[in-house]
């Protein structure tokens, strides 16, 4: 074997190196040539981010009005030390996000595996039905849940919000895990058996780890959606179960407090950090598949 020359493996990288390297001049030239598309790009970015920049700027304003009166961190101090209700709302949101997305992820993953791997009557119907909450307007889901909870006399509160969030998270996780299963190569199950794995070992060491990326991205997505949901939560919340989006909305009704500006900046920062973490995570997944 050693007499063979393995160099054909080394000399031919799968991705040609250097093809995507473009000199700065070239990029600049392209800018000039596609003037119109770049104008649109700049306008779009301005349109998207100007409101955020305004909010962030005013969070450092020393007075309450729209006039810039000087730099100050007092709204951040107020946010940290004088906003007990806000933090309670945040805690509610957090509890619901974690619990509902965990439950939704487990249920939807099992559903996806079941629908993909077993054939039974009404399989197609269930699959189609499970996407319904994704396309229905949130108001309709909110109202129908409210009517349903009232009808079965379920008191509105944390538990009803938990159920509502679990419901609207299900189809997203289902979709992501199904997509992962579509790529699943069934011969790896035979390979596992061939190499000596029992059925249980095949499940734990092959199936679960290889659909894990789909499950994890489903989980992260449901956490995000649960944290930011307003419409459905608005209908099914009760006394003492105010979530962060609901609380912010109620604050605005009594005039815009700069504390909200401060909160916005904190949220934007944490979301950017989360997004970076997510990107890294997705890159790791991409590398594995």
């Amino acid at each position: 074997m050693s007499s063979l020359d393995p160099s054909f493996l080394i000399k031919a990288p799968t991705h040609p190196v250097g093809v995507y390297k473009v000199s700065k001049n070239q990029v600049f030239k392209d800018h000039r040539r596609f003037g119109f598309s770049n104008i649109v790009l700049v306008l779009t970015i301005l349109f998207l981010f100007t409101p955020l920049i305004v909010v962030i700027t005013y969070s450092f304003n020393s007075s309450k009005g729209m006039m810039w009166t000087g730099f100050s961190l007092k709204w951040y101090a107020a946010l940290l030390f004088d906003s007990e209700e806000l933090w309670r709302a945040f805690l509610n949101s957090f509890i619901i996000a974690i619990s509902s997305s965990a439950v939704a992820t487990v249920l939807a993953s099992l559903a996806a595996v079941g629908i993909k791997w077993y054939s039974f009557k009404g399989r197609q119907f269930i699959q189609t039905l499970s996407f319904l909450p994704m396309v229905l307007p949130e108001v309709i889901i909110g109202i129908s849940m409210l009517i349903f909870f009232t009808a079965i006399k379920l008191p509105l509160g944390m538990f009803s919000i938990f159920i509502a969030h679990t419901t609207f998270n299900l189809p997203f996780v289902f979709l992501l895990v199904s997509a992962r299963l579509d790529e699943f190569d069934f011969t790896i199950l035979e390979a596992a058996r061939d190499l000596g794995a029992s059925e249980r070992q095949t499940l734990m060491k092959v199936i679960v780890p290889s659909i894990m990326p789909g499950v994890m991205s489903g989980l992260l997505m449901s956490i995000t959606m649960s944290l930011e949901d307003f419409v459905i939560t608005f209908f099914v919340s009760g006394p003492g179960s105010t979530t962060l989006p609901l609380y912010v909305y109620s604050m605005i009704r009594y005039g815009v407090s700069p504390v909200i500006n401060a909160l916005s900046f904190v949220l934007i920062l944490s979301i950017i950090l989360l997004a970076f973490a997510l990107r890294r995570f997705l890159k790791v997944i991409a590398a594995s598949s």
């Binding site: 074997m1 063979l4 061939d194 190499l195 000596g196 794995a197 070992q201 092959v206 894990m212």
Partner: protein
């Protein structure tokens, strides 16, 4: 000699009304590089899956070293498979993929490490051990699959079209490596392929299959030079195949000089054969294109046992080391001729499109394939 004798006896397997395997019997010897060759749907993969234990036959028996094995599940058969789609675990690194079978056995970690490195070295993947399969090229993936299948030290290695997803050049390289591996390890290799050139170049013996049946088992030489049926003649390499009737059969020292009447050539053709055929018997006649000689001029001496035809070059196909000509004979039958290109001194004048040519072959080079009816 390591490895198992694999005996397949009267194995049949049907899927509904489709007979995937129809009374198949093959004896594979210890340490042999044995190929199952046939077009897709011929049953070769079904047979491989039965040997691996992923499928079981409706009737028939399977013996490893004389012991019945059908009752054993895949994991107890000392057989490992290299899959066509590689079937690597996408979530594991190259190292962990190869270590997978050993980890299941709960072997000492240091032992696992040394064995994994040994087998990755065997397939020349030392520098890629921490990559995930997604980062590897097709050829590298297949090497991982081979190392993973070998690390359990199976007695039989099954290879299910392992090279079909790779490009031609890489395929040749890996094929040579597989052959080296086989020489090194010495276990029984059963190789499934639809590519006749792959099978011819590495196998000790080949079974040609079609429609669930084994048509011929033999060495590559036997299968190429003396195909048992029309199908084998056509499937292995290129050939000119004609229906013929026996006109005469003259006995010589240890062969028969047979004269055939071939309607398609509108002529009598002489063939040497080892069977005494009856007059009037219908047979198939084949002659390989590379055994035909093509000349612009009529050959000076035409011996008794030379078959000579005149025709016009209808389609010359130049491919570097050889040229293929489709020659339209006088009675509008087309015959294929392949001419190897030698050096300048040996080459005759160039043969071109629409040239008038003479095609000839010796009686020794023709072959009577099978008796069509008796």
């Amino acid at each position: 000699m390591k490895g198992y004798d694999v005996q397949i006896e009267n194995v049949s397997r049907a899927y509904g009304s489709f007979k995937a395997l129809d009374d198949v019997s093959i004896d594979i010897k210890k340490g042999e590089f044995f190929s199952l060759l046939g077009p897709s749907g011929c049953g070769k993969t079904t047979l491989l899956r039965i040997i691996a234990g992923f499928d079981s036959p409706d009737t028939g028996i399977l013996l490893f070293d004389g012991k019945e094995i059908l009752s054993q599940p895949p994991e107890k058969r000392h057989v490992n498979t290299v899959f066509q789609s590689y079937a690597l675990f996408p979530h594991l690194t190259v190292y962990e993929n190869v270590a997978f079978p050993l980890r299941l056995k709960k072997i000492d970690k240091n032992l696992i490490d040394s064995k994994v490195r040994e087998y990755l070295h065997l397939v020349q993947l030392d520098s890629h051990i921490h990559k995930k399969p997604g980062k590897l090229s097709g050829g590298q993936k297949q090497r991982v699959a081979i190392a993973r299948a070998l690390i359990n030290e199976p007695s039989v290695l099954l290879l299910d079209e392992p090279l079909s997803a790779l490009d031609a050049k890489l395929r040749q390289n890996l094929l040579v490596e597989l052959d080296h591996l086989h020489d090194q390890i010495g276990i029984t290799f059963i190789y499934v392929t639809h590519d006749q050139s792959e099978a011819l170049s590495v196998s000790d013996r080949i079974a040609v299959m079609n429609q669930g049946k084994v048509l011929q088992v033999g060495t590559p030489y036997e299968i190429y030079e003396s195909p048992a049926t029309d199908f084998v003649a056509r499937f292995i390499g290129e050939t000119n195949l004609f229906e013929a009737t026996v006109v005469n059969c003259d006995p010589y020292e240890d062969y028969f000089m047979t004269t055939l009447d071939i309607p398609a050539l509108n002529s009598l053709v002489k063939v040497t054969d080892y069977d005494n055929l009856e007059k009037g018997q219908r047979v198939s006649f084949t002659v390989r294109p590379e055994k035909l000689k093509i000349t612009g001029e009529r050959p000076n001496k035409v011996g008794k046992d030379i078959n000579l035809f005149h025709g016009i070059v209808e389609e010359p196909i130049y491919s570097g080391f050889q040229s293929k000509y489709y020659v339209l004979l006088e009675n509008s039958t087309v015959i294929k001729v392949i001419q190897q290109h030698a050096n300048y001194m040996d080459e005759g004048p160039e043969i071109d499109w629409k040239d008038s040519v003479f095609v000839s072959w010796s009686a020794e080079d023709g072959y009577i394939v099978e008796v069509v009816d008796s």
